[in-house]
């Protein structure tokens, strides 16, 4: 299958990546070429095969429910684009 400009625009929106009209042709072509490569998988019968999510069959560890991280708000917010009074600032989302 091959993607249309409309599909690409939808994927870009879901990815939260702005794709301009000038770029969409090239992006569309490259995505189709990658999807063409991926399609090779469909020729293989994988019925009854258990999907492998992880190389080692280990289960997630549990730990005591205690505080492990110190409060380093200032150090962590020093790299933020915009902060005020210890809060991250974003454009207004609620009118």
């Amino acid at each position: 299958m091959s993607l249309s400009h409309q599909d690409v625009a939808r994927i870009a929106r879901l990815s939260r990546i702005a794709v301009t009209d000038a770029e969409i042709d090239a992006v569309n072509r490259q995505l189709n070429s990658i999807l063409g490569l991926i399609e090779q998988m469909q020729a293989v019968n994988t019925d009854g095969i258990e999907p492998m999510a992880h190389p080692q069959d280990v289960s997630l560890r549990l730990r005591e429910d205690v505080v492990t991280e110190p409060n380093r708000r200032e150090a962590c917010q020093a790299v933020a684009p915009q902060v005020e009074k210890g809060l991250f600032l974003v454009p207004k989302v609620i009118e």
């Binding site: 870009a12 702005a18 995505l31 994988t46 280990v58 790299v79 989302v93």
Partner: protein, 483 residues
């Protein structure tokens, strides 16, 4: 001194023939002289390095030095390091000064290794040529027209050019082995879960694994002793007893069964690379190894499976770059969504955007089973191939890449051509196995070629043994480019 191995440097430091400050100064001078043409480092900070070196000397004077205290190291710019810019090769993180250390960095600091600088890499470790770095491509020290390989191209070029005796690196689909092969250095990617991913900027979490590059297998063993180990902050870090990865280096290879996968020597392998691998196998036979013919029938499928799983995981991991808590934020936007979309469009390079979009697509409603689950089933088939193969051999040998390093610009316009060159490395990551690249010769046009050694789970000491014994009877690893 610049050609000394880590082992030799540690001896010189212990014997007080050289101080950490003198060593750091010498390497910094060489970086100053050669980095403008190689572009192996993104960040060099002389003052910070010399402070670390002085601290290492003080530690030694106080009698508190470990084996490697005072030895210099380059860190791939993917490992968060407090107070250092950690860009991951991306404009997105060009302004990111890490507020904390990765586990690998903590371990290196505890050992007293001195940071020479931060090595260049493909953006977010996505690439096989280092041409995807926001900071420009790294040049191969053996031939400035050639790619150094990727994504750990800066690490490989730095060690090859003797700008650092050792370097940290990471491998998600071959990113340690392929640049090590192309630059003529020794590199090891451990078993998935052996080195903590804490503080290592995430690309594809079920495949990412930290490792090292150095001139020799022995140096890789010493470094693995430093960086390997359980870390509860990485949910996939394995709880295993500490081991000495250098314990088996001196073991003879008599009776070693080496598997040669038919699929790694078929169409697509360049004749000169094939010849070099054949010669390497002959050397090992002289040391007593027996050759076993094996098959890894699903090798070809590793490419589509990888290019579903890795982008899928990347699309989730890289959603954290939203221009809110850290990283690039667009200067103009009309609302929150516009801010996300513009910040990400400006902050990410084209390969990263492509992989995020492919990943978003294969995980999107209605396609999840057809792509992601299908790829995970193929992943199982690939892991089972290795399991069957290791029933009849101790290590698997083959090429790392189908050709020696290609030219800069040769494949950069065609992502699929670039992906196809990963054919011999991807399976190892999908299966979670350890593997190495060891210098084994030079192509017809004079570019280095590495021998890949793939081991069974947790057989790092065995692989290092094979590589070390090979390096006792060959000198490819001690050759350095004329610069």
């Amino acid at each position: 001194m610049i050609h000394a191995t880590l082992k030799q440097l540690s001896q010189q430091l212990a014997d007080k023939q050289v101080s950490a400050v003198e060593l750091a100064t010498e390497y910094l001078q060489r970086i100053d002289a050669l980095n403008p043409q190689l572009n192996a480092f993104i960040t060099v900070d002389r003052d910070k390095t010399l402070l670390e070196a002085a601290a290492a000397d003080a530690r030694r004077a106080a009698g508190l030095a470990g084996l490697l205290t005072g030895a210099p190291i380059a860190h791939k710019d993917i490992f968060c390091q407090q107070g250092w810019k950690t860009s991951c090769g991306s404009k997105m993180l060009d302004n990111f000064i890490s507020p904390y250390d990765a586990h690998v960095i903590e371990q290196c600091q505890a050992a007293g290794l001195v940071t020479l600088g931060r090595a260049n890499m493909d953006e977010f470790a996505m690439g096989s040529s280092n041409e995807n770095s926001y900071y420009g491509a790294v040049k191969n020290p053996w031939d400035l027209a050639a790619i150094p390989g990727g994504s750990s191209g800066g690490s490989a070029a730095a060690v090859a050019a003797r700008l650092a005796p050792v370097a940290t690196a990471t491998d998600t689909g071959g990113s340690i082995r392929q640049p090590a092969s192309h630059c003529g250095v020794t590199g090891i990617k451990p078993t998935y879960g052996v080195v903590s991913r804490f503080g290592m900027v995430a690309y594809a979490s079920s495949l990412d694994q930290g490792g090292v590059m150095a001139q020799t297998a022995e140096d890789c063993a010493l470094m693995l002793n430093v960086i390997a180990g359980f870390d509860e902050r990485d949910s996939t870090s394995l709880e295993r007893a500490k081991e000495d990865y250098s314990r088996d280096l001196a073991q003879p290879l008599a009776g070693l069964r080496v598997g040669l996968p038919r699929e790694y020597f078929a169409d697509g392998l360049a004749a000169d690379v094939g010849r070099i691998i054949d010669n390497a196998v002959s050397e090992l036979k002289k040391l007593g190894a027996e050759v076993v013919d094996i098959s890894l029938p699903n090798t070809q499928l590793s490419i589509p499976a990888y290019y579903v799983i890795a982008p899928a995981e990347a699309s989730a991991n890289l959603s954290r770059f939203d221009g809110v808590r850290y990283g690039h934020r667009a200067s103009e936007y009309k609302d929150l969504v516009d801010m996300y979309e513009k910040s990400r469009a400006e902050g990410f390079g084209s390969e990263v955007k492509r992989r995020i979009m492919v990943g978003t697509y294969v995980l999107s409603h209605g396609y999840y089973d057809a792509y992601y689950i299908k790829a995970q089933k193929i992943r199982r088939l690939i892991a089972d191939d290795f399991k069957a193969a290791f029933a009849g051999c101790d290590v698997i040998l083959g090429p790392v890449a189908p050709t020696a390093a290609f030219n800069l610009g040769e494949k950069s316009g065609d992502p699929v051509q670039m992906y196809l060159s990963d054919i011999y490395t991807l399976s190892v990551n999908l299966a979670g196995l350890p593997a190495m690249s060891v210098p084994a010769g030079f192509s017809d046009n004079g570019r280095p070629v590495g021998l890949q050694i793939i081991g069974n789970y947790f057989s790092e000491a065995k692989m290092l043994n094979v590589a070390h014994q090979f390096q006792q009877v060959t000198d490819w690893h001690s050759k350095a480019p004329a610069l």
